[in-house]
Symmetry: C2
Subunit: 200 residues, 2 copies
DNA sequence: GGGAACACGTGACAC
DNA sequence: TGTGTCACGTGTTCC
């Protein structure tokens, strides 16, 4: 995906990032923070967790497909008693794959609150895609967790701004030397020297 | 807060951002996405929601302080039946302030899952502070929601990189012209022209 | 075992 | 009204 500098259309354009992972439903990377001991798989674009890349239907495929053994526990049927899984009448669930972290989504049943659940799910997916895009845009990502990614992105922005500013000054200094061709021994690298000459 | 370009210490340094909001426990900004019709308050650093700025104790102050009327409903006492608030035996809660969005934190009771709750709360706060820092680092934030912020940050990084790359080429072209003082009519601004001359 | 991190469903709110 | 967003507590997994 080519990173565009257009601000008005970036939101739609960035969604193309998710298409990279639709071909690898198997063996996604776990989203383990701080440690990163999981094998980094051969993602084409950025080695981010699978949840960051899948679109809304991709998660369904991820959970309902070959990894369907992870389903069946929890069983939050969309309406009341959604999260009170503290009760111990749950059957022992089948061992989920190690790369699946967090609560498992319940079966997609119809209900009055399903639209809300689905909307929230899509919002989470969109946020994950945005994280994926940011992860791809920041080359200096120390750790894989979100907080570190945000911190690295902030630091990278500051570094880029400082670098661009320095280069701009450098270009301006050189261009100023060009604007006065009568000056014989103009300086390029030293900004202070050129400035003193300009002020003189 | 001055944005540092040091990558190793940025995570600790960025945490200083939260100290700006500790003096304004009243009238925080609501975190409304896409609309942003709320009055933008006079934050000293960045006009982000209060939850993005408060540290871990700040939320306690925010909820337990003068806005304590918002407490008492929900009443998730930390252990079982935490989220099954669909049951209608709740008393009508006092009207919460309009700038308090989302589920209200229950009273801080001791329990076996309290540490988990507190850890998750601190994790959310840390993430919010990172969002605040990123929001402050990106000057072109179109909307206030997180997804837009991430998209804008990604686009801004791409723009900064392109700008820095262009400037670097420009500087190199100028420096290359300087490295060959025998060339009489060297060009500064046009990269293609200088390149053709270099390849000639 | 416990800390860390994420996903999930849900309540509340804004528009 | 419906849609979008966020905070919250919780379940789950990994180290």
């Amino acid at each position: 995906m080519a990173i565009s500098s257009s601000f008005s259309t970036i939101m739609d354009e960035l969604a193309a990032c998710r298409s990279f992972s639709s071909s690898i439903p198997q063996s996604p990377a776990s989203f383990s923070g701080a440690g990163g001991q999981h094998p980094v798989l051969e993602f084409e674009y950025c080695d981010v967790p699978e949840q960051w890349l899948e679109d809304d239907d991709g998660i369904d495929k991820l959970w309902d497909g070959s990894t369907a053994t992870a389903l069946g526990n929890g069983a939050t049927p969309s309406a009341p008693a959604g999260n009170d899984v503290y009760v111990s009448d749950k059957p022992p669930p089948a061992p989920a794959p190690k790369w699946l972290r967090g609560r498992k989504p319940g079966p997609r049943t119809v209900g009055p609150v399903l639209s809300h659940v689905e909307a929230e799910r899509q919002r989470r997916d969109k946020l994950n895609r945005r994280f994926c895009d940011l992860r791809a845009a920041v080359p200096t990502v120390s750790k894989m967790d979100r907080a570190s990614l945000l911190a690295d992105a902030t630091a990278y922005i500051a570094e880029l701004r400082a670098r661009a500013e320095r280069l701009e000054i450098e270009v301006k200094v050189k261009q100023w030397g060009r604007w006065r061709p009568s000056m014989r021994s103009w300086r390029c690298g030293c900004w202070g020297s050129a400035r003193r000459r300009r002020c003189a």
